[in-house]
């Protein structure tokens, strides 16, 4: 069970993430309003906002997943508060550096900082180096955190057990049962770890060129592969961390028996671990220089990564809910909605991961359309569900049945969220390029769609703000009392 100090640090994570989320959404809305010509900002400001928006969003939803599984991990293994605090401090320091780099340094190479763009200095001269330093701080913090959590799991489970290999047979009487939560957490953190090591290698190559005085040049193709290996993988694994919390909490708050690790759950998630690592090749479909085999692997892996994780989860949740007596509260509704958003976003992703479609969708607004869907309406909702649940734990309140007021807030959230991404999808189908500060005149509907998207996003932001107050006030309670309240464990 988590100690009071562990609750406090988790609470600090939740509050920090929500505050950063609200700010980063407003950067996004500013960008969409600019594209809609409702406001007028300079391209440099636009792209600085875009860079900070991307970095912040990817960062906070990865750590939201990490913080959530770390908290829930305390149910199974001994967790370390100091490790968690260490990660928190480095995250805050890293984020502060990156915001300074973006807003004061005017750094605007995008969150993907595709080589060699960061070296084409069109901002304050110090910004490139400090950008790399900011990323290094985050990378080190999260790397240590991931390894620490893996070590915590491996102190209780053997390597095979942590991947649920003993469940591969159909026998029901295994000596040690691996809960789905442990399996999915392990699989996801391994993925996070691999992506962070990739980031470290990428950063080393950047530093090497930066300090080489022109004697060392990187290969742009290798750098692009590394960039998307890191970027794609961390974004995907962040989602799987969200799913880990879903597997742990959805049955519990719905008043259903816990999920069990069956052979297909075990096999499915092990397959996902492998497939997800090669799916990133789909980011390089339009780089004809990439070996053809890699392109095929990209499409195969993108398709097959969806079978185990999505199919297993869909079936498990439908069997859990369909026709049964369910106690619907805010927590499990958010999980349920998040699952729908994740699957719909996944369909958009699969369409784009098909090479023959990609030639007319690559780097159009279809791309932000699908990844915003499974983040805005997927992963964010998984994390919010955990936040609501954890806030109730901290405040010692019980999760109540869903109220009319909450349903209204959720409706605004759903309309705002899906309306926002729909504008992206339509624009993407109409070939509107992504990452344009303003749209050329031939895209006649692009500005209107952008403006509409911004208004929908504003509705989404309002819904988040309405939900946020309750969560934050409950989270703050954990700091005011020195004793945990009686209901909190």
């Amino acid at each position: 069970m988590p100690t009071l100090s562990f609750k406090r640090i988790t609470s600090a994570w939740i509050i920090t993430i929500l505050v950063l989320f609200v700010l980063a959404i407003s950067f996004g809305i500013t960008m969409r309003f600019n594209q809609g010509r409702d406001i007028d900002i300079s391209p440099v400001t636009f792209y600085s906002l875009m860079t900070v928006h991307g970095l912040t969003m990817i960062g906070i939803w990865a750590v939201a997943g990490m913080a959530a599984v770390n908290y829930l991990l305390a149910r199974y293994v001994k967790v370390s508060t100091s490790l968690n605090v260490f990660a928190f401090v480095l995250t805050v320091v890293g984020v502060v550096i990156l915001w300074v780099v973006g807003f004061i340094g005017k750094f605007h190479a995008g969150w993907t900082f595709l080589y060699p763009l960061p070296f084409r200095v069109a901002w304050e001269e110090w910004a490139t180096l400090w950008f790399l330093i900011g990323l290094t701080v985050l990378g080190v913090g999260w790397l240590v955190w991931s390894v620490g959590m893996i070590m915590q799991i491996l102190k209780k489970y053997t390597l095979g057990q942590s991947f649920a290999w003993q469940h591969f047979t159909k026998k029901h009487d295994v000596a040690v049962e691996t809960p789905p939560f442990i399996l999915i957490t392990m699989v996801s953190i391994i993925g996070i770890l691999i992506s962070l090591i990739t980031a470290v290698i990428l950063l080393v190559l950047f530093y090497a060129e930066y300090f080489s005085n022109g004697t060392f040049t990187n290969d742009p193709l290798l750098m692009k592969n590394l960039t998307y290996f890191f970027g794609h993988t961390i974004a995907n694994e962040a989602l799987y961390l969200g799913l880990a919390t879903l597997y742990e909490l959805l049955p519990e708050v719905s008043g259903r028996p816990k999920f069990k690790t069956t052979w297909y759950v075990a096999v499915g998630w092990n397959c996902t671990m492998v497939f997800v690592l090669t799916a990133f090749f789909h980011h390089l479909y339009m780089d004809f220089v990439q070996p053809y085999g890699f392109q095929l692997v990209g499409q195969f892996a993108s398709y097959f990564a969806s079978i185990p994780s999505a199919a297993v989860t869909i079936v498990s949740v439908i069997v859990l809910i369909y026709g049964n007596k369910i106690k619907w509260s805010l927590t499990n509704i958010l999980f349920f909605l998040g699952l729908v958003g994740w699957i719909i976003g996944g369909v958009g992703a699969l369409i784009d991961a098909t090479i023959s479609n990609n030639i007319i969708l690559h780097n159009t607004l279809w791309v932000p359309a699908h990844f915003h869907t499974y983040n805005v309406m997927g992963n964010v909702l998984f994390s919010l569900a955990f936040f609501v649940w954890a806030a109730n734990q901290f405040a010692g309140t019980d999760s109540k049945n869903i109220s009319k007021a909450q349903l209204v807030k959720l409706s605004i959230l759903v309309i705002g969220g899906f309306g926002f991404v729909l504008m992206f999808y339509i624009a993407g189908a109409y070939s509107v390029p992504r990452r344009y500060a303003l749209y050329p005149e031939e895209f006649t509907s692009a500005a209107i769609l952008a403006s509409a998207g911004a208004w929908f996003a504003l509705a989404y932001l309002i819904a988040i703000l309405l939900l946020l107050g309750n969560i934050v006030s409950k989270c703050l309670k954990v700091f005011s009392s020195s004793q945990p309240s009686p209901l909190s464990h």
Binding site: P116, E125, K155, V176, D219, L221, N225, E441
Partner: protein
């Protein structure tokens, strides 16, 4: 209206940020060698050729088979010999089913046909039907057609020049050029190109780049393990080793 505002704001902000361009960075022109690209997909000039088999035109040759053209001079004490030797080696080990002939042309007006013949004999190629050693009276037009300008160094009495292969397809178009000592892989892509097999992408020769995903070193022409691909595998290898190391320790609670 909108367009002009748009351009204006963009240009102003770009101009305003110019003082911030502090670091002078190497441009792509410094890093990559673009001369390999020049004249690609232009029609070759139809120069007359003098060979031991008789006198004919370049078009007579390429009409039969695509050509790999190598440029040398017989008194070369530098790159020419190793270059021809390597080309010969690579072509043998490629065991190629694709058709082509190899045309070795001198760019030195002083070279005679018999000197070219003895050059062929040095590599024991004088009886090889695939290899043709030739001189041409139109050296200057040839140089212009392929953008190849060796300079005469009177102190060493040598031409200062790079190794150059020019691939010419059956229609007489330059399909690909290869500068410097290159590996088999590059040669194969040249042979594919002149046989009208589509190679949908290729790298430019680069300076100072290590860790590329592909395996050639223009400087030495030797094959190296694909460091770039190895780097891509590294994260997974490190993680796996870490897991095996952590996992080898016995858990406490079981």
């Amino acid at each position: 209206m909108f367009k002009s505002i748009f351009f204006f704001t963009t240009l102003t902000s770009l101009t305003l940020s110019t003082p911030l361009f502090g670091q002078t960075l190497p441009t792509a022109g410094d890093i990559y060698n673009f001369s390999e690209e020049s004249k690609v997909y232009t029609k070759m000039i139809d120069i007359p050729l003098n060979t031991m088999e008789g006198n004919f035109h370049l078009s007579d040759l390429y009409a039969q088979k695509p050509i790999i053209m190598a440029l040398v001079f017989t008194r070369c004490t530098g790159i020419c010999s190793p270059f021809l030797l390597q080309l010969h080696d690579h072509l043998r080990s490629l065991d190629n089913k694709r058709k082509f002939s190899v045309l070795v042309v001198s760019f030195d007006p002083k070279d005679s046909l018999s000197e070219m013949q003895s050059l062929a004999a040095r590599f024991q190629l004088q009886n090889n039907k695939q290899w043709i050693f030739a001189t041409t009276p139109q050296i200057d037009s040839l140089k212009t057609a392929i953008d190849f300008y060796p300079t005469w160094d009177s102190t060493t009495a040598q031409f200062d020049h790079e190794a150059l292969l020019v691939g010419i397809n059956e229609n007489g178009y330059i399909g690909k050029k290869l500068l410097g000592m290159r590996d088999e892989r590059a040669l194969l892509s040249l042979i594919k190109e002149i046989n009208n097999e589509f190679v949908f992408s290729y790298p430019l020769p680069a300076k100072n780049t290590i860790f590329s995903c592909f395996t050639y070193d223009p400087a030495t022409g030797k094959k190296k393990p694909s460091l770039g691909l190895l780097i891509l595998l590294l994260p997974a290898i490190i993680t796996l080793s870490l897991l095996l190391w952590l996992g080898s320790r016995k858990p406490k609670l079981n």
